[in-house]
């Protein structure tokens, strides 16, 4: 045996100052968690992975566009649904139950019925529309003034417009319907009409639309997960050598994973941003014809696109999807790459 421990030998010529310092051989102690260092590392990787996207502009752009299109479909449907819903909301407040009284009824009897109904707890107010007022209003809106004036007597009944306590919404429709039936049972009332039936139809159409958007969104979210996953898989594959060397010099799996996760994050955020831009552009494009349509209905309704809050939500969701897609792909492929 010629074991020759020589730790205590003097450094020879040619060794630099740096190498003169004895190298510590004690065991590496677990360092306490250093938040500043942790953040600095993450910030560096965040920037680096963004620069890496810019290094492959064409490939990154195409991936981003696929993600953007996949995300803008549910986003656009959401905006459409939101607008229809807010049109509905406007009508909800105007909803009333109209009571058409028997035409032989005297004004005094009608007035006492009106007081009686307005005293109810579930009624906010009752407005009394006399035969004459009804006729005048009808003349105005219909334009049949001459025909109406040629009639021997006013054919219109007295109408009580009952405004219920409950606003018309999907869940109050049953209450309002039972109120309508109750009012119709009054002997003075010939016919009671709840001005909400069309709304009921629209509401069920909306809930159908909502489900449809959810189903479509789920499918497209899965599509984006797959797109990001596949892109990241290829990125991992193209950086195989780097992954191997990093493992060799003592990189933890978390460290190796990080740039790919941030890449997925960037794909998500930028794809989401492109989707938002698409949605805004498309809503501007359709807003002209849409406004004309709305004007035809004499409505002062304002078409709305994505609000700032919704943009933030959209970006958050897409960032999460992107990171998740990357995470799935990276976990699978990093472990596949092993030192030989």
């Amino acid at each position: 045996m010629s074991a020759r421990p020589n730790a205590n030998r003097q450094p020879q010529r040619g060794a630099t100052r740096q190498s003169n310092q004895p190298i510590k051989t004690q065991k590496v102690k677990r360092q306490p968690f250093d938040l500043a260092k942790y953040l600095r590392q993450h910030q560096a990787v965040l920037t680096e992975s963004f620069v890496r996207l810019l290094n492959y502009p064409m490939a990154s752009f195409m991936t981003l566009m696929v993600i953007a299109i996949a995300l803008s479909l549910p986003g656009g449907l959401y905006v459409m649904l939101k607008n229809v819903q807010s049109v509905t909301d406007q009508w909800e407040q105007q909803s009333v139950i109209s009571l058409y009284l028997f035409s032989e009824l005297e004004d005094t009897q009608a007035l006492s019925l009106s007081h009686q109904i307005s005293a109810r707890d579930d009624v906010r107010s009752v407005s009394y529309v006399s035969k004459e007022e009804g006729l005048r209003y009808f003349e105005q809106v219909s334009g049949y003034e001459q025909i109406l004036s040629s009639l021997p007597e006013n054919p219109l009944p007295i109408v009580l417009q009952v405004i219920p306590m409950e606003a018309v919404q999907l869940d109050t429709l049953d209450i309002l319907e039972s109120l309508r039936l109750e009012l119709e049972e009054q002997e003075q009332v010939e016919y009671a009409e709840l001005d909400a039936q069309w709304l009921q139809r629209l509401a069920s159409f909306l809930s159908f639309g909502e489900r449809f958007v959810y189903a479509l969104s789920s499918l497209l979210v899965i599509a984006v997960l797959l797109i990001v996953g596949n892109t990241i898989r290829m990125a991992v594959e193209s950086r195989r050598d780097e992954v191997l060397v990093m493992k060799l010099v003592g990189a933890t799996d978390a460290y190796i994973r990080r740039p790919f996760l941030y890449m997925g994050f960037w794909f998500g955020v930028l794809g989401g941003l492109c989707a938002c831009i698409c949605i805004v552009i498309v809503s501007l494009w359709v807003s002209g014809p849409a406004m004309q349509l709305i004007e035809l209905y004499h409505s002062d309704f304002q078409l709305s696109s994505f609000s700032a809050g919704e943009v933030v939500i959209c970006l958050t969701i897409s960032a999460i999807i992107g990171t998740l897609g990357a995470w799935i792909a990276v976990n699978k492929h990093i472990t596949d790459i092993e030192l030989q």
């Binding site: 045996m1 010629s2 074991a3 020759r4 421990p5 020589n6 730790a7 205590n8 030998r9 003097q10 450094p11 020879q12 040619g14 060794a15 630099t16 740096q18 190498s19 003169n20 310092q21 004895p22 190298i23 510590k24 051989t25 065991k27 590496v28 250093d34 260092k37 600095r40 590392q41 050598d241 780097e242 191997l244 060397v245 990093m246 493992k247 060799l248 010099v249 003592g250 990189a251 933890t252 460290y255 030192l339 030989q340």
Partner: protein, 223 residues
């Protein structure tokens, strides 16, 4: 770093027995060569030390700690204490010399200023200080090997392993590389160099471990 192999065996899944009953003790601060024909198990032995492979039998003690008891999570930490140089350099050609050498420091989370200082010190040691901005591709084989060595020592490892570090180099460059290893050894780093260049090994006058078909056939003499 002190290394002790106790009757270590390594059998691959394919049934090939790469090492059997290998025992030796490498003192803290010692330098030794590992020789043998190709396929004798030199690389496998180094891989066991790097925890790239795990032994099938026997114990490997590093500073008294049995590597077998280290969980998978502790492997990166272990590798940071070991510098390794390969024949094929394992350099990355998508970045500069500086960033190749900086990799082990980045991986262990050193801060920016420290990375700059230590990378330049390591490059200075291997005589490549002026070439930090070059792409490794633009440098010669000998220079590339020096980058590999700078990367192996930048983290101030306690153990330096080299697998055929002079394989592709002419005798003069090979001797220079070996002298570099010797310099690191002189400052207390334990060094183990696998090489089949017996003439060069003999000239270095250090302990020689010889493997033949997975068995330690010689320990000590200059071949």
């Amino acid at each position: 770093m002190e290394i002790e192999f106790q009757r270590v065996g390594k059998k691959y899944d394919s049934g090939q027995e790469a090492l059997s009953q290998v025992s030796f003790h490498l003192q803290q601060g010692e330098m030794a060569f590992l020789t043998g024909h190709s396929g004798a198990g030199k690389s496998t032995l180094l891989k066991l030390m790097m925890m790239i492979e795990r032994q099938s039998s026997g114990n490997i003690l590093v500073d008294g700690t049995d590597l077998r008891t280290l969980p998978k999570k502790a492997v990166p930490e272990h590798r940071r204490r070991v510098g390794v140089v390969f024949q094929n350099h394992q350099l990355l050609f998508d970045r500069s010399v500086f960033h190749n050498v900086a990799l082990p420091l980045q991986v262990s989370g050193a801060d920016h200023a420290q990375i700059g200082k230590r990378v330049r010190a390591a490059l200075d040691k291997v005589g490549l200080l002026g070439k930090e901005k070059y792409n490794p591709m633009a440098l010669s084989g000998g220079e590339q090997q020096r980058i590999g060595i700078a990367r192996a020592v930048v983290n101030k490892p306690q153990l330096l392993l080299a697998d055929e570090p002079t394989g592709n180099l002419d005798p003069k460059l090979s001797a220079e590389i070996m002298n570099l290893f010797q310099e690191f050894n002189h400052v207390g780093v334990t060094v183990l160099v696998a090489s089949h260049d017996l003439a060069l090994v003999a000239r270095m006058r250090h302990r020689v471990l010889t493997l033949n078909q997975g068995r330690m056939v010689n320990d000590g003499g200059f071949s």
